[in-house]
């Protein structure tokens, strides 16, 4: 007799479910923090190599302890709040930037289902903290909340540079959020579900269901190349990553929205930048590269994809000059938004014809 495995839920096994849930949350959180810490090291090393420098070498073997040393240094620095700043909003800003990116990880599936037998009953644990049937919308909502961190930092610092950085970032994030949101619409027109688990499952099997193409997976990057490009660029703009880092443009604005920050609060802004990069990488991998599907064991494929995107972001930072403000707005509203809308219309027609 073949037993159908049972999905672990709160109603059938409360204790096991709670333990599994807490474990999943802890693992996701710790892995993310570790990647954040070592992303700074990787970034300095890789950019160093690309610019024929060495990067950090002195702290520990090959400079491997550099992130820990940096963290300790920032942790013991004096925490200063400018006398003319709004103290509450000033302290709240870095947390509001960091929290949404961590919360968004909760709906991302990071591995294939885990099967195990306990007390003679087979259980299935989905490798995802929670599967919402509106997962994509949840991610968009969290991305929208991320704006507050930068806006508040700019506003609460009571400094000209910070204010300019805040205004720039608000305009930038609102413009590119639209393009990013619209480009994903085409993806869930194909998958016919908003659940990220459903989107990963829809990307299994050979390309477009044609058996002759069985060596190419049915990833949405092949069906939706335009949406992939638009989403990646728009997300980079949304998290203020380098060709779009006008809010913290060093040559013009000292350090932009985080000019007045010091010590751990300053470190939180940097952690938020890398955490946002990881979240964006994870979302892009899930939506366009088939999530955890691939040649290796579930979570390994997922981590490889995330690291590939991180490398891509760092690479971009080493190669591209910063956009001008008018170029940024022109690209957001006059190039990417119409392209995203056109992509939706074309996908709609294609879906209708295909059926």
């Amino acid at each position: 007799m073949v037993m159908t495995p049972e999905v672990l839920t709160l109603s059938n096994t409360p204790v096991l479910f709670t333990v599994a849930m807490l474990l999943k949350i802890a693992v996701a959180f710790v892995v993310m923090i570790l990647i954040v810490a070592y992303a700074t090291y990787a970034e300095r090393k890789i950019i160093g190599r690309m610019q024929t420098r060495m990067g950090p070498t002195m702290t520990g073997p090959k400079g491997l302890l550099q992130p820990i040393a940096d963290g300790l240094k920032l942790f013991f620095k004096e925490d200063m709040i400018p006398s003319q700043a709004h103290p509450f909003a000033f302290s709240l800003a870095p947390m509001m930037l960091l929290a949404p990116s961590f919360v968004a990880i909760a709906v991302i599936p990071f591995g294939s289902d885990l099967h195990f037998t306990y007390d003679g009953i087979q259980y299935v644990v989905p490798m995802q903290i929670t599967d919402l049937n509106f997962g994509v919308l949840f991610i968009l909502a969290m991305a929208g909340l991320g704006v507050y961190g930068i806006v508040l930092a700019g506003l609460a610092s009571n400094s000209k540079y910070a204010l300019l950085g805040g205004i720039r970032s608000t305009a930038q994030m609102i413009s590119y959020e639209l393009a990013a949101g619209l480009s994903i619409v085409a993806v869930f027109m194909l998958s016919e579900t908003l659940s990220l688990r459903g989107i990963v499952l829809a990307q299994q099997g050979p390309l477009w269901g044609i058996e002759a193409l069985k060596y190419i997976p049915n990833w949405y990057i092949f069906s939706q190349p335009l949406a992939f490009g638009l989403f990646l660029v728009a997300s980079m703009a949304e998290i203020n990553r380098t060709p779009f880092d006008l809010p913290e443009a060093e040559t013009e604005l000292v350090s932009g929205f985080c000019t007045e920050y010091s010590s751990m609060k300053y470190a939180l802004f940097f952690m938020a930048e890398y955490a946002n990069m990881i979240t964006i990488s994870a979302i892009t991998a899930t939506l366009f590269l088939g999530g955890w599907s691939g040649p290796f064991y579930g979570w390994m494929n997922f981590l490889i994809k995330v690291f590939a995107f991180m490398f891509f972001f760092i690479w971009i930072r080493a190669t591209f000059p910063r956009l001008r403000y008018d170029q940024l707005m022109h690209m957001g509203w006059k190039v990417m938004l119409p392209l995203a809308l056109a992509n939706i219309v074309i996908t709609g027609i294609a879906v209708l014809l295909w059926q």
Binding site: F88, L132, G144, V151, L155
Partner: protein, 167 residues
């Protein structure tokens, strides 16, 4: 458990809504309003309408409030109002007490006997809230939906004409 959670979130919603009015610094008011919106989103989740919750956060907390803060920033309203305004407190308090009485009266005047119509909790769980709303908007009520879209377009064009006399 759920009722306790409801009272917790409701408490936060009411306190933050009170501070929206009370704060003298417009930024703090705006922040408190964001908190109220997020509490409302939690209520939508508890009422089994997750789509509304997501839209509440995306549209109200993510877009409208950011625009309001953007305006505060551009017009430099960031300063705290120094004077203490007391006029209107009595009338405002009276109106809110009256409103509360009317609302309590309405809520307590009868018990819900059951849900009517084809959309039930079981159906939401099976089909999905987003699909139900999408079907209703684009199949059953497509004409009112399009009219609302045209109305918004007229509003945008009107705003543009008022803001920019010479286009």
């Amino acid at each position: 458990m759920e009722i306790l959670f409801f009272y917790l979130v409701a408490g936060v919603a009411i306190v933050s809504a009170f501070f929206v009015v009370k704060c003298r610094n417009p930024i703090n008011s705006a922040l408190n309003l964001v908190t109220t919106f997020i509490c409302l989103a939690v209520f939508y989740v508890m009422l089994e309408s997750p789509f509304m919750a997501a839209i509440q956060i995306i549209v109200y907390a993510g877009a409208i409030m950011v625009l309001i803060i953007f305006v505060i920033m551009l017009l430099n309203f960031g300063q705290t109002i120094k004077g203490r305004y007391t006029h209107g407190i009595a009338a405002g308090g009276l109106v809110s007490v009256l409103l509360m009485l009317v609302a309590t009266q309405l809520v307590r005047s009868g018990d819900a006997t059951g849900t009517g119509g084809p959309v039930t909790s079981a159906m939401i769980a099976e089909v999905g809230h987003t699909e139900l709303i999408g079907r209703a908007l684009f199949l059953d009520f497509v004409l009112p939906f399009e009219i609302a879209g045209v109305l918004l377009l007229i509003a945008i064009v009107g705003a543009l004409i008022i803001a920019k006399q010479k286009v």
